[in-house]
Symmetry: C2
Subunit: 247 residues, 2 copies
């Protein structure tokens, strides 16, 4: 069950053979739980494992001199945290659990083994890092050019779209607290609250206990100008990628 998550995600873009599946099954060395708020990897470390989020929500973040936290990426189930550290020696940011998380650790050697023995998997992993990069660019557009209310709507749309891609988020609940959302949106929790109030008034979201749930997904998408293009879902890879995998 554990690896179905990765298989499901990677299988979206390449067709995995039974051997690939077997490789994925042997990938995980061990799993462990991390409580919400705790760090998984810290800046400056040179981790020897790649971490995979199995359950819960984690984030990449950087601390600023003034003590505030900038969240520069969300890590949802099926996301690999630090594939890049396989090459780059040192983390230039932190990774932390936002909710209680179940995390799998994968030795670097297995990643190398995996990419050298299966071209499908190599291409699929490369694809996933490129999508991460595309998401970063879209966040950049949001922070630079969208007002807080549209940006908030956009982020909620993205989270739900990404959760759906791994078979979650059916309940349309955004799995983040106010402080966490605010850190990701680059606004204060106080202002986020005001923004959420206007989105509620418009009937786009509703409160469910302490969480936010999306009430009108289409309306929210329009309001946030959300175009899932940048997530590169269900997209044909380049002809060259296809060629690499068959040659």
């Amino acid at each position: 069950m554990i690896d179905n998550l990765l298989a499901r995600k990677l299988g979206q873009v390449v067709s995995l053979s039974t051997q690939d599946m077997a490789l994925l099954d042997r990938l995980i060395e061990r799993t462990h739980d991390v409580a919400g708020g705790e760090d998984i990897i810290e800046q400056g470390q040179e981790p020897r494992f790649v971490h995979l989020v199995l359950e819960g929500v984690a984030c990449r973040y950087k601390m600023l001199p003034n003590g505030s936290r900038a969240i520069v990426g969300l890590l949802l189930p099926g996301d690999l945290c630090d594939l890049h550290i396989t090459i780059l020696g040192r983390m230039d940011h932190n990774i932390s659990a936002l909710s209680d998380c179940r995390i799998a650790t994968i030795p670097h050697e297995k990643i190398i083994e995996m990419t050298s023995s299966s071209r499908q998997l190599a291409v699929a992993l490369w694809w996933s890092t490129l999508v991460d990069e595309a998401i970063l660019r879209e966040w950049l557009v949001g922070l630079g050019r969208r007002r807080a209310d549209r940006r908030t709507a956009h982020l909620m749309c993205e989270i739900l779209a990404r959760l759906e891609a791994v078979g979650q988020g059916r309940d349309r609940v955004v799995p983040l607290g106010h402080q966490q959302m605010a850190d990701a949106l680059g606004i204060t929790p106080v202002h986020l609250h005001r923004v959420l109030a206007t989105l509620k008034t418009r009937g786009l979201i509703v409160q469910q206990g302490r969480r936010i749930a999306v009430a009108d997904a289409d309306g929210l998408r329009d309001y946030g100008h959300f175009d899932p293009d940048y997530l590169h879902r269900d997209e044909r890879l380049s002809p060259l990628a296809e060629w690499v995998m068959t040659a």
Copy 2:
């Protein structure tokens, strides 16, 4: 001379053999000039070449519904524009020349050939995409958490640091116009002008004709909280990367 640029950049992180150098020499199919303001690759395209900036400054950008342009990355001499398109089928953003540029086109097949015949080059290319990603994260921090004046100082520091890494920018002139800087900083040209005025008052920059030159590099670094850590210059690669290259 053309490839010295790439060799110089990649050689910063891996030691290139004479064979690697020879490979780099055969890389470029042809070069062409692009006038400032013209697009090099457009969103939605499926380019069959990788583009390398030889001279000039280019950028990645996205257009917004309201007609404004968000610059989500700067491409300086030695930067590869669209390595990721080797895998991803379709561009999700545009690439445009900010100044008159000389651009080299490299067929995708040569990239594959290069990475499959030299592990040093494969690792070096991977490294360069990871640095691009790290820069994106830092821009995200800037847009989300730094005031326009600090952000401006930070960007100018980054540009000079990156230019120096390829042996340019000795004159400490920022090779961008106001509109272009503003689009990269997520502010209006009007406000940028105010910001530049304050930086001038502090003696951090000076006007040189229509361009800005850095007068006090250390002061500007302090003011913008610029820490070049994220550029991963002169940094030892991970032990695993070293192992991959020797095995």
